[in-house]
Symmetry: C2
Amino acid sequence: MNLESPLTYSHTLLAPVIQSGDTVIDATVGNGHDTIFLASQVGRTGHVLGFDIQPQALVATKQQLVLTGLAPQTNLILAGHESLNDYLDADQEITAATFNLGYLPGSDKTITTTSTTTVPAIAACLQHLRRGGIVSVMVYYGHPAGKSEKQAVLDYVSGLDQAAFQVLQYQFINQVHEPPFLVAIQRR
Amino acid sequence: MNLESPLTYSHTLLAPVIQSGDTVIDATVGNGHDTIFLASQVGRTGHVLGFDIQPQALVATKQQLVLTGLAPQTNLILAGHESLNDYLDADQEITAATFNLGYLPGSDKTITTTSTTTVPAIAACLQHLRRGGIVSVMVYYGHPAGKSEKQAVLDYVSGLDQAAFQVLQYQFINQVHEPPFLVAIQRR
């Protein structure tokens, strides 16, 4: 058994936490990889809210959802994740949220997530997170704006009250390039 | 399911890697927690070499091994782990090694592992490590000498050739005190 990549490990952590019928969030739809995973976990009675600011990401993901029969439980929303509270009732609980920071692979690399919206969006997800629920943040920081976003995210999550949250960093540390790492935040 | 502590996660990683009959190393016997785990994993046909420089650690661990029927496959050696090559044939393969850095709980806190022996001992284990095998290092760095040892270990492992090894750091990052973290090194 090989050590899991951060992305694979994020799904290993999320899978047992998400139940049929849950409401969950994909804060960065991108290539739809997490959206598909989340939609299959929550099932027909569940609900995935997926956010992205790039129409082509939503169009391509919608096609995949239709082909896999996962569209009914999925709402794709053309908006930044910083507005997610506009789409959730104040008392709506979620069991999971996923973030993939950086740019959309194969697209305009200058369009990236940034700390000014990422940190408030993580904070909004934590407000709605049920006990035992997990917010997963894949931090890709190889692009020019990536370093400051990485630092802002680490500053924010490492300051979360340890009585309320566990914050795990899962990272390969001997790679020449700057591979993505995982931050997983679980409400106690 | 809660996020696993670094110590629990180290056993989660090691368990599927260690087979009956394997040879493995506990480089820091201490309270015997890892020795017992390793001895139960390798079974009667396997072999655990356990090192410690403190006689009381070995005496207490020996008692536990006898009580649990795990003594036959275990060799406890009163010597520092830097001498482990004296106890292994040059071509002996191992599938796992465990390190718990710091001091022996409940004992003299000034007797700690230090980078001058820890880093060479990790290097020796890696020489013998079979493909797929894992060296697990629990880094306790709350004691005075801990910071420099932690840095020396991180410098060493983060410089390991990524074509030969994967080096994972698994750490909770929002705790006020300085909790131990795990470094897991797997030979590809």
